[in-house]
């Protein structure tokens, strides 16, 4: 494709294809690929790819590349290049935003849609993040707002608050799994800051006003929404999506935040497998 090439990873074989869209943006796919590639045991072909700018894919630096519209075309290019046909699309976090946008742009390309730990209404999400930050107490919030206003986001005091929130709302495991570490350690902050913002709790990028709730009624394929009770993209965000979709199921994992597939795999995968088995024939 135009601005560069991406590297895709193909596991298993068969007609039933699961295409994984990981979060970030700017993260290599390791954490979602390594946790979900086990679905080959159920007879699925599983495909993941490092989105442009990450992992083993090309890393152009033109900031004009970092738009959700271009990423949608990247997904379509991968699907056609690998001749995947109609896919079960699993999007996690930013991958969910991308999956929603893709489903609206290429409705014929999907069999089912799985929206993991994501949201369709960023302004609503931002109000939820305010609530999560508020749990650190008014002095902490005032401190964070001061650093955000002054642009001193690398101050250790500000970063300390982010660290506490990350272990609470991104991954609640005391020791983060190796695939998560690999993805996070190779984070390309270019697309992340352009699209989302400087951290998980401050949305100032080009997606800050994105809201597809009014359009989601057009997504006709069966959809599974999963969310952790402590998810930074909260159960309230998940509920909004469910209410907007014509054919959606919603499952909340009580001991998880943003990564139930690592935090509560014994509860998570049966739900995902059951949904795919029931709805795969669409």
């Amino acid at each position: 494709m135009g601005p560069g090439e991406v590297v895709a990873y193909d596991f298993g074989a068969g007609e039933d294809v699961i295409l994984l869209l990981n979060g970030g943006p700017g993260l290599p796919c390791d954490y979602l690929r390594d946790s979900h590639s086990c679905l080959i045991d159920d007879g699925y072909r599983v495909v993941a790819f490092d989105q442009l700018g990450t992992g083993r894919s090309d890393r152009p630096t033109d900031p004009a590349l970092w738009t959700i519209t271009r990423y949608v075309e990247e997904v379509e290019t991968v699907r056609r290049a690998l001749d995947l046909g109609r896919v079960h699309l699993i999007g996690q976090s930013w991958g969910g935003w991308l999956g929603i946008e893709y489903a609206l742009t290429h409705p014929g390309a999907l069999r089912t849609l799985v929206l993991e730990n994501t949201a369709a209404d960023i302004p609503h999400l931002v109000s939820e993040l305010e609530r999560l930050r508020g749990a650190l107490g008014p002095e902490t919030v005032a401190m964070m707002q001061r650093h955000e206003a002054e642009g001193t986001l690398d101050h250790p005091e500000y970063q300390a608050a982010i660290t506490i929130l990350n272990y609470r709302h991104v991954c609640r495991l005391a020791d983060w799994p190796a695939p998560v570490r690999r993805s996070l350690d190779d984070w390309n902050m270019g697309p992340y800051e352009a699209i989302q913002g400087p951290n998980e709790f401050l949305y100032v990028g080009n997606l800050k006003d994105w809201n597809r709730i009014p359009d989601m009624g057009r997504i006709a394929v069966p959809t599974l929404i999963t969310v952790g009770q402590h998810d930074e993209l909260t159960p309230a965000c998940a509920l909004r999506m469910k209410l907007a979709l014509p054919d959606a199921e919603l499952k909340v994992f009580p001991n998880s935040s943003h990564m139930p597939f690592f935090e509560e795999p014994e509860a998570f995968f049966p739900v995902l497998r059951d949904f795919l088995a029931r709805r795969a024939q669409g």
Binding site: G137, E139, A160, A174
Partner: protein, 309 residues
């Protein structure tokens, strides 16, 4: 030669100055290095906090007082700075540090001093004054307390302001002894910026003291950080004895001090005639956070105590 370190208003927050006399002094467990500045008739004996910090951070902001005619004596407590660094954990007790103070005063032949102690230096100073009252001319008890069990209830209140989930997280890691976990360390860092020193930068004497931090001493006596007391001091309480103090006392605290104004108020109420000063925008380090106000309060008290007013 002395080099004053000025703040933007031209005030000398601290001074770098060569000692007029340096002594190596035998104390229980090894030898310590002590420094004497100036030669006035009235001696300020400084005892810094930690425990486990070299004296730089507490010495340097008081060296400008030498030019006002005070003699200053201060030392690196055993295990820190230029003093010996033995590694016998049995040495890290309050009683040994009190004996160390006596040894330093004996070596300089000081019959009586104005004691200026900070934080742990205040605890040690209280213990010293109760056991050697004849040597005390006056006392400044800065950012300290006399009742650790009460302090722990205050610290619990400060931790609570981070929200119940944060407190639960801290308690879990404390129970497991995982004080180096990033989330736990982050909570401690937040509290440090709020309750230790409310400054975006680290003044040079503070940097030097931190660079020489002997963590083993701190952990043996206090604990892993300022908000978790697991060491020998955790039950220490002298609030019922300090009513015997029969000399001028200044209690100093900051509004946001980790050793809170409630701790300071308890001390001031327990000591007959004690004065108290609260620095409104300070935490645990008013000598750096409010240097002019600190020096004015300290100087005023010392001049009255020494009859120089």
């Amino acid at each position: 030669m002395s080099i004053p370190r000025l703040d933007p208003t031209g005030f000398a927050v601290w001074e770098e100055r060569a000692p007029d006399e340096t002594r190596r002094i035998a104390v229980p467990g090894g030898s310590v290095v002590a420094y004497s500045y100036g030669d006035g008739p009235d001696t300020l004996f400084l005892l810094n906090g930690g425990p486990g910090l070299p004296c730089d951070y507490w010495r340097d902001p008081h060296l400008p007082l030498v030019a006002e005619g005070w003699r200053i004596v201060v030392h690196d407590q055993l295990g820190t700075g230029a003093s010996d660094h033995p590694d016998d954990p049995a040495l890290w007790t309050m009683a040994r540090y009190v004996a160390e103070v006596e040894a330093v005063l004996d070596a300089f032949g000081l019959a009586s001093v104005h004691f200026v102690g900070h934080s742990w230096g205040g605890w040690c100073g209280i213990e010293w004054a109760l056991t050697h009252p004849g040597r005390v001319a006056s006392m400044v008890l800065a950012n300290t307390c006399a009742d650790i069990p009460h302090l722990l209830t205050e610290i619990a209140r400060l931790r609570d302001s981070l929200g119940p989930e944060t407190v639960a997280m801290m308690q879990c890691f404390e129970a497991e002894g995982r004080f180096d976990h990033p989330a736990y360390a982050a909570a401690v860092r937040l509290l440090d910026f709020r309750h230790i020193r409310r400054q975006p930068f680290k003044p040079d004497p503070v940097r030097r003291s931190h660079a020489g931090f002997n963590r083993a001493i701190f952990e043996a006596i206090q604990g892993p950080n300022e908000y978790c007391y697991t060491g020998l001091i955790r039950d220490w309480r002298r609030i019922d004895e300090i009513g015997r103090f029969a000399w001028p006392v200044l209690v100093a605290t900051g509004t946001h001090d980790v050793l809170t104004p409630a701790c300071a108020a308890r001390m001031a109420r327990a000591i007959p005639g004690a004065e108290i000063v609260v620095f409104p925008d300070s935490a645990h380090s008013p000598a750096y956070e409010a240097p002019r106000a600190w020096r004015a309060a300290l100087g005023g008290f010392l001049r009255r105590a020494a009859g120089r007013a």
